[in-house]
């Protein structure tokens, strides 16, 4: 859960030091997508600091899993709003063509009037289809289609690439200060919520992405799908893949009823962006349309999402994970309390 090297960089934890995933990009030359020069994250411990943005903007990140119901949309919403809270401009694209839900999780379902399909058809402009969150004005949502409309897949992937280019060029033309708002600048992050499966929607969603966040749960069904999807992403040229292990239960790990995060990492061989503990507050926040990271006081899962967002900004990965809950060492610990 924590990056230990953040706290004391000069310590002798040699086994904890691991090369960032950005180094992997240079080890492969067969991949068609251009890679950005990695920036060394300077994550020194200090209060009231901001994470240092690594990589060239906009960072186009696809959140995918293969298996459904592992928390792709929840992760997109929470990491997106965490990034927005940290001051970065974020556009979240709900590329789940058939079953979109990101608007519900963000509480923006009543404000989605236009989608990408209407933009492609010339029924609205792109800026009209972007739904700005009123809580954090540097967060915008873009839905790819309405539930009953069909996406023309003939240029679906290309269309997403055009969208990314148009968003990138937005800051150049409008200048950001044209309407006096800072939200119309080029986004720092474009998060693409990928649909489950490896169907046409998946192919469309991964097209413009430069990096991927793979969501999985510690069970064998999700792991098999995650491995397959990782293989497809790597075949497509996306090499910067980090994973988030969701719905981790330390009590079950302790009882050896669930694979630990380290077991999952051993099976997939991917660097860890985060490990999100199972939290009942996730369901409540989903029902309220109020992402978990906005909760006050923050919950365990909300803190884990914030940490994952922080690592995403700095292109960092976890160096140590929470394994199990330690017994309390109180006065009554002798009696098993």
């Amino acid at each position: 859960m924590l990056s230990l090297h953040h706290h004391l960089p000069g310590t002798t934890n040699a086994n904890l030091q691991i090369l960032p995933t950005t180094h992997l990009r240079h080890s492969t030359s067969i991949h068609p997508k251009p890679y950005l020069p990695p920036l060394t994250p300077k994550a020194l411990l200090q209060w009231n600091r901001k994470p240092q943005l690594a990589g060239e903007t906009p960072r186009v990140v696809v959140v995918t899993s293969g298996k459904g119901g592992v928390g792709k949309t929840t992760t997109t919403a929470n990491i997106g709003l965490s990034l927005a809270r940290l001051g970065f401009s974020v556009v979240a694209i709900d590329a789940d063509v058939g079953l979109r839900n990101l608007d519900l999780l963000l509480g923006l379902e009543n404000r989605v009037n236009y989608t990408v399909v209407e933009v492609l058809n010339g029924e609205c402009r792109l800026d009209q289809a972007l739904v700005r969150d009123k809580r954090w004005s540097n967060f915008e949502l873009l839905c790819i289609s309405k539930p009953r409309s069909k996406l023309p897949i003939g240029f679906g992937g290309k269309a997403l690439t055009w969208l990314v280019e148009a968003l990138k060029a937005r800051g150049d033309v409008t200048g950001g200060n044209r309407n006096g708002s800072t939200g119309s600048r080029s986004p720092d992050f474009i998060l693409i919520d990928c649909p489950a499966g490896i169907d046409a929607g998946f192919i469309t969603a991964i097209t413009p992405a430069n990096e991927a966040v793979l969501i999985t749960t510690p069970d064998i069904t999700a792991l098999r799908d995650a491995d397959r999807v990782t293989g497809l992403l790597e075949c497509d040229g996306i090499r910067d893949i980090k994973m988030i292990v969701n719905r981790v239960r330390t009590d079950m790990i302790k009882g050896e009823d669930m694979m630990s995060v380290l077991d999952v990492q051993e099976m997939l061989g991917l660097p860890l962006l985060g490990a999100i503990p199972e939290d009942s507050e996730v369901i409540r926040s989903t029902n309220r349309g109020y992402p978990l990271v906005l909760n006050k006081p923050p919950t365990l899962a909300g803190l884990a999402f914030e940490q994952a967002a922080w690592r995403l900004v700095e292109q960092d990965s976890m160096q140590a994970v929470m394994v199990e809950e330690e017994p309390k060492r109180g006065f009554f610990s002798f009696f098993g309390g």
């Binding site: 924590l2 904890l16 010339g122 897949i153 497809l232 075949c235």
Partner: protein
């Protein structure tokens, strides 16, 4: 239990009368006065003794009853000074609970500004009621504390043991090679509907076959790729489809207006009034103007545009000239 408590309360209430000396003396005096009118003294003294006996027996019974039931110490002990802290605590608790309820009601008031902000209807940062996010380190804050030995972390009050990540770059490379062998995949670039013929010079591995009844994807589109690209890049002005529809309607309207039959038809202004759009701002003034214009129609043939309204066909040439100019 409830019944027993009720019984004890009743007994206590009954026992009040013999305990109060003033009330008993009054009643006995009244009885004496009345009885002494016609009854001899011996009888009177006997009855007096009997009464006294009854009273004493009842008071003894009451005393036994009270002493047999265990009472709380603070109720038995009537010394106010020693119980004062207890009563103060009780009062403070009640006061805090009531205040908390009042404040919680204020917070949860539906329709308030805070409620609207919470529901995302209002922007909090514009109203000055938002708390700026302090960019606290999410890895070291009051809710996340790492032990000095870095072997455990306390999150949200729970202490977890930490284990270091041992994945090396070599292991990652091994996994990548394994996957590259296991999953041979090429991105589909051509999407075909079932029944379509495979175009020449296309790698069959890059073809994705889409079922005709796919729920959310279609291979056919009524708009070209170039148009779609242009639409995505449009930043200002009216969207292409809206503009096209508007132009088509405009042409249709012009075509209708240019038809000779329509030009010959002179619509009675009273009927034309029904076809007009109800402009709220000018509705009354238009009515008034039309009445006056109808009255003056023969006298003063040239009408102003505003008075005639948009559907008045007699003023067609002038409006057409204005659109062109």
């Amino acid at each position: 239990m409830a019944l027993a408590s009720i019984w004890t309360v009743e007994f206590r209430l009954l026992s009040v009368h013999p305990c109060s000396p003033s009330s008993t003396t009054r009643t006995t005096r009244i009885h004496r006065f009345r009885i002494t009118n016609g009854i001899p003294r011996e009888v009177l003294t006997r009855t007096q003794q009997l009464k006294q006996h009854c009273i004493t027996s009842v008071s003894q019974f009451h005393h036994q009853l009270v002493t047999s039931i265990p009472m709380p110490q603070f109720l038995v002990n009537r010394n106010i000074g020693s119980n004062l802290p207890i009563w103060v605590c009780v009062a403070v608790v009640v006061l805090v609970a009531s205040l908390r309820r009042v404040f919680s009601r204020k917070k949860e008031r539906p329709g308030s500004v805070a409620d609207l902000v919470r529901r995302g209807q209002l922007r909090s940062d514009r109203r000055g009621i938002s708390r700026d996010l302090k960019y606290e380190d999410p890895f070291d804050n009051p809710l996340v504390k790492v032990s000095k030995s870095k072997s455990s972390v306390e999150m949200c009050g729970k202490v977890y043991r930490l284990a270091p990540v041992t994945l090396t770059q070599e292991e990652q490379t091994v996994h990548q090679r394994r996957r590259s062998r296991a999953y041979q995949w090429k991105r589909p670039t051509v999407f075909l509907k079932e029944g379509d013929s495979v175009p020449p010079d296309v790698d069959p591995d890059t073809i994705r076959w889409i079922p005709a009844n796919h729920p959310f994807v279609t291979t056919s589109t009524d708009i070209g790729e170039d148009f779609a690209h242009k639409n995505v890049n449009q930043k200002h002005g009216v969207p292409f489809r809206i503009q096209a529809e508007h132009e088509a309607l405009q042409k249709k309207l012009e075509a209708l207006q240019n038809e000779e039959e329509l030009n010959k038809v002179v619509i009675n202004p009273t009927n034309a009034k029904e076809l007009e759009r109800p402009f709220n701002s000018h509705a009354k003034s238009n009515d008034h103007a039309e009445k006056s214009s109808l009255n003056n129609q023969m006298k003063d043939p040239p009408f102003s545009k505003l008075e005639n309204g948009p559907n008045h066909f007699e003023s067609e040439p002038s409006s057409g000239e204005d659109q062109k100019s």
